[in-house]
Symmetry: C2
Subunit: 415 residues, 2 copies
């Protein structure tokens, strides 16, 4: 009577099958100042040189390096100071043989000069300055274009824009940039027992909390669009799926993805002419995950058990959305090496995600303790845990005392 | 003539001196659904039990466990099926001795029942069911409150709200939550050479790009408020500082923090009666960083050189803002272990942040190459690099072939 999955697919293989069905979004032009977190839709070529002019890299005197030839402390070269330049000075200035300009770091190098003598190799006296060391051409000058030259490829398509990319684009005086549109992800919850947050809870009812967790998780990359809660009814689910597909670049369903009688999602996907790409992942929790395509729209069916839903969302949904969003590369979670203080058991062939809490011992060692779990789908285990020990398919658990790597699915951690 | 810092302070020590001057923000009540990224201002106690009712953990039959005493396949116990319960069913139902209710995972346990017999240990025939195995009390039931019990401390003050915290709060049907206000950070750029993004660049002028990078960096934790560009003039800088202090919980200045004649920030801070807490960090780049307090408002003076500004902002400014924001714990950056393919030199006593690019060899080994830097403040080095090798104060560089840890100051990485 117990229904089981015929076959479980490893996450990597599942993504390999699903990815070719995910197509990058089209692009749009937005303001650079509002582009944090967005993904470049074009290779960016520099429209200008950085620095945009030869620039003093030190405080000192801008000179013709030839004039300093043979200068020493006992036999200094004397130059006439014909002006002063500070950062931001715009007037044209130049020097001839025997002349120098007092210059501050960041100022443009005057016409005729090819080097800067740092202050410590100079002795000023009135309108003249003694140079006490010979300086080669180009010394203490940031040459125009030495950082970025005009036409150079500076950022690649698929790069996510963060502070560093912002710094570069702003330095190049770019005001607009082409980015991929944010994918719209339609979310459909399923289950008669669900009510929305803030409703009064009747007997047997629970809050549709997976929806909010999911919205929080994907909002970094996509615009979540909640379609509704489908009751355990094929007609209703089919109609919500159709609505989700209409406005969404990807549809996520929550619950009803297993192989039981009341697991309507796979059945309804097929009744709509959809193709099931993967059903059942070799991960725990997260096994009853569905990857499908209906009418050209990719669909990810997440398990209903909250912890399983979160693990599957992180491992399968996020990379799928990243692909739509045009991102190259993968999300890097912080990782911490720690010593297990208890044994972790696991079943071979299944990748286990074991929630652990971390603490730092007095000797600095970080210790990971598996969070005690007494029932299925224990939500509080996610917030009690600091991270996950991932036990690979080909490993049969870890002994107490083993060094393990802990994946931290958050950005801030007290340790 | 060369002015130098009298003393350089390690980052940890500098933060130790500065932190006590940073006071947590006051709190505000916001909607849970909009709380992603915010920081809890209160210890959260659960207003209810999760699960909110005894719940079937398996598909099967809800029974009185005593009724199954002695049941075997050859000597089954026969119970009368008096009803059916599915998740979300609200009607009251109960059983007496000799009775069972057909139940689906997630449904509430009927009155009188204390266990669930899984389907595989049952044989249904019409209105009756044969139970073929003895079941202990509580078996296959998620007891009310077994995940979270009413009144339990579920989330601590200072926790940043992410998907997992959202899941928990929504499951508890919490609609509002007390969080710390977002700190307002006033940003003041300094330097005659600066113009805003999109302006036409005159000779000797550059874009105020540090501002935009900084806004991008801190927007995760704070609301940036740009005050303006202060020309190299004490009066103007003083007036902008006063304006920044008025509307800001923290003031950041960019450039003018070194010990030269034109480094006005420390001087103006003192002229306003401010106290300089730290001037000069033992990091490279990032040395000319200033930590001060003016009229009760903390001030972070960042170096003007873009790479130095970014390093100092990450190492000193972000933790300071996190403190204001009420966050407990520290920002965890992804780290990657890699093998250096070139030597890294460093000066003892200074913590070096060396930009490196990463590549994965065919054998899976990750190799880090220091990014070649030919001038000071090379902006493109930040985007060419994938991360930073941090050489601690007490280490004199790393030989080629050493294994090092690379800090990834971004979330997505192609590797």
């Amino acid at each position: 009577m117990t229904r089981i999955f015929k076959e479980l697919t490893p996450v990597g293989e599942a993504l390999g099958l699903f990815m070719p069905r995910l197509h990058r979004m089209t692009s749009e032009i937005i303001q650079v100042t509002k582009s944090t977190g967005r993904v470049l839709a074009e290779d960016l070529l520099s429209p200008m040189d950085i620095p945009p002019f030869h620039r003093a890299a030190f405080d000192g005197y801008a000179v013709r390096s030839l004039d300093t030839f043979g200068a020493t402390a006992t036999n200094p070269v004397v130059l006439r100071v014909v002006g002063q330049l500070r950062p931001g000075d715009e007037e044209d200035m130049g020097i001839s043989a025997g002349e120098a300009v007092e210059i501050a770091t960041g100022a443009y190098l005057p016409e005729g000069a090819d080097a800067v003598v740092p202050l410590e190799y100079s002795r000023r006296s009135g309108e003249h300055v003694e140079i006490i060391r010979q300086i080669p051409p180009g010394a203490n000058v940031d040459r125009r274009g030495s950082d970025v030259s005009k036409g150079q490829l500076i950022l690649k398509r698929g790069t996510r824009i963060g502070p560093f990319e912002m710094l570069l684009m702003a330095s190049l005086n770019l005001t607009e940039v082409g980015v991929f549109r944010k994918p719209v992800v339609s979310i459909i919850s399923t289950g008669n027992e669900l009510v929305e947050l803030g409703s009064s809870l009747g007997k047997g009812q629970i809050v549709n909390s997976n929806r909010y967790a999911l919205e929080s998780l994907i909002s970094e990359l996509a615009s979540p669009r909640f379609v509704g809660i489908a009751r355990d009814d094929e007609e209703e689910l089919a109609s919500m799926l159709r609505e989700g597909m209409k406005g969404g670049d990807l549809v996520v369903t929550i619950a009803g993805t297993s192989v039981g009688e009341r697991d309507l999602v796979p059945r309804v996907v097929e009744s709509l002419g959809g193709e099931i790409v993967v059903h059942g992942l070799s991960i725990m929790p997260g096994k009853p995950t569905l990857l499908a395509e209906v009418d050209g729209v990719p669909l990810v069916g997440l398990p209903g058990s909250p912890v399983a839903a979160m693990v599957a969302a992180i491992e399968v949904l996020l990379p799928s959305i990243a692909r739509l969003a045009g991102l190259e590369g993968s999300l890097q979670w912080p990782r911490v090496r720690a010593v297990l203080d208890r044994r972790i058991a696991s079943r071979p062939g299944i990748r286990h995600y074991v929630r652990v809490s971390l603490r730092r011992e007095e000797d600095g060692e970080i210790v990971a303790t598996p969070v005690r779990i007494t029932g299925s789908g224990i939500i509080s285990s996610l917030t009690k845990a600091d991270g996950f020990v991932v036990v690979p398919e080909d490993v049969e658990g870890y002994e107490s005392g083993s060094e393990v790597e802990v994946l931290i699915y958050r950005r801030w951690l007290k340790l």
